[in-house]
């Protein structure tokens, strides 16, 4: 007679713990979970990089007087940077600039 309600409670506690533990603790999905937001993130990352690239090119053109050339080049570099952003994000090496500690999460200490 005793075991049924106790079992139930235990199971529910376990379930609740599992539910609470999963999303927060991993750094993986920090924005929020769904595929929608992941897509949104990728979109902003790509567009931001293209805009920055294009803007830099535009500015450099203005300074150097090479009207469309640098901007065209820099927009392509912006695309590259944008895809690099997305690639880094999706492979979980978020926001690392440079390839230095790609694997094993940076056990090679800094050298100066």
């Amino acid at each position: 007679m005793a075991d049924n309600p106790g079992d139930d409670l235990e199971r529910r506690i376990k379930d609740a713990r599992a539910r609470h533990a999963s999303p927060q603790d991993t750094h993986k999905n920090r924005d929020d979970s769904g595929a929608m937001s992941s897509a949104f993130r990728a979109g902003t990352d790509l567009v931001a990089a293209v805009i920055v690239g294009g803007g830099l090119g535009f500015w450099a053109d203005k300074v150097l007087g090479t009207k469309p050339l640098l901007m065209i080049l820099m927009v392509f570099c912006g695309f590259a940077a944008g895809f690099l952003n997305i690639y880094r994000r999706e492979t979980g090496q978020e926001f690392k600039i440079g390839f230095k500690n790609d694997r094993a999460s940076g056990n090679d200490e800094k050298e100066e």
């Binding site: 929020d32 820099m74 390839f99 800094k110």
Partner: protein, 244 residues
């Protein structure tokens, strides 16, 4: 839709005390008012919440401790021992974004995080501080961040260019994400509220119910976006502090 009922009307900046100085419009706007409210609310929450110092915290102390520990844990995860130095900065960024988002959820309130000027300025400040910290810690060696190790020299210029663009695009991406989330959420709420009005008392209940659910979602997004903003601040600082 008639004038004044556009879902974007809520984002208009209206001056409270019009003020001109040196050709610039420096009016005290409702945006500024809510920023001040956010700062006052944060300061009040933290000082009043921390005043009692009870062993068993009361409600306000509990909230204050919760925020503190949440941000401290986040900073500690990213920055390790260095977290203590940057904690005030990270906490301020977190609270100003969170309070902006949460104040925006009140009826008739203005959401200052729905303006890219505000989020952009915040993100620029964050990236400037992170870069300054990197230079302060490592000097000019900091810029080796952009040069991957073991890179053939022939493609180095290209890769450095791409890395620099990638670095500079981060504040833009960060600010756009916060601002777009806020604008989208508040516009959606207003659109559904407009449906409620248009569909009358009976059928109007349907969008109203949906709106209630959306408000819950918006509250969640308010927290998540503040969290994202703060954790990205941590990660940018980490780049500057650690520099492998």
């Amino acid at each position: 839709m008639s004038k004044g009922h556009s879902p974007l009307e809520q984002f208009a900046i209206k001056p409270i005390f019009p003020l001109q100085a040196g050709g610039f419009d420096i009016s005290f706007t409702q945006s500024a008012l809510f920023m001040i409210l956010a700062v006052v609310a944060t300061a009040a929450l933290m000082t009043l919440g921390g005043k009692r110092r009870a062993m068993v915290p009361g409600r306000w102390q509990n909230v204050a401790e919760m925020f503190y520990e949440f941000v401290y844990g986040m900073a500690g995860d990213a920055l390790g021992r260095e977290a203590r130095k940057f904690f005030p900065f990270i906490f301020s960024v977190f609270m100003i974004v969170l309070m902006g988002n949460l104040f925006g959820m009140l009826p008739y309130a203005f959401t200052y995080t729905s303006h890219i000027v505000v989020t952009g300025a915040l993100a620029l400040m964050v990236i400037t501080v992170a870069t300054a910290v990197g230079i302060a810690y490592h000097g000019l060696h900091f810029f080796s961040l952009f040069l991957p190790k073991g890179l053939p020299w022939m493609i180095a210029p290209l890769v450095i260019l791409i890395e620099v663009i990638s670095y500079l695009s981060r504040p833009l991406s960060l600010s756009v994400r916060l601002f777009a989330n806020m604008v989208a959420g508040h516009t959606m709420l207003k659109v559904f509220a407009g449906f409620s009005v248009m569909m009358g008392a009976v059928f109007g209940m349907l969008p109203l119910v949906l709106n209630m659910a959306l408000i819950g979602l918006e509250l969640m997004i308010a927290f998540i976006q503040a969290y994202v903003f703060a954790i990205l601040t941590c990660l940018y600082l980490k780049d500057g502090v650690e520099l492998h």
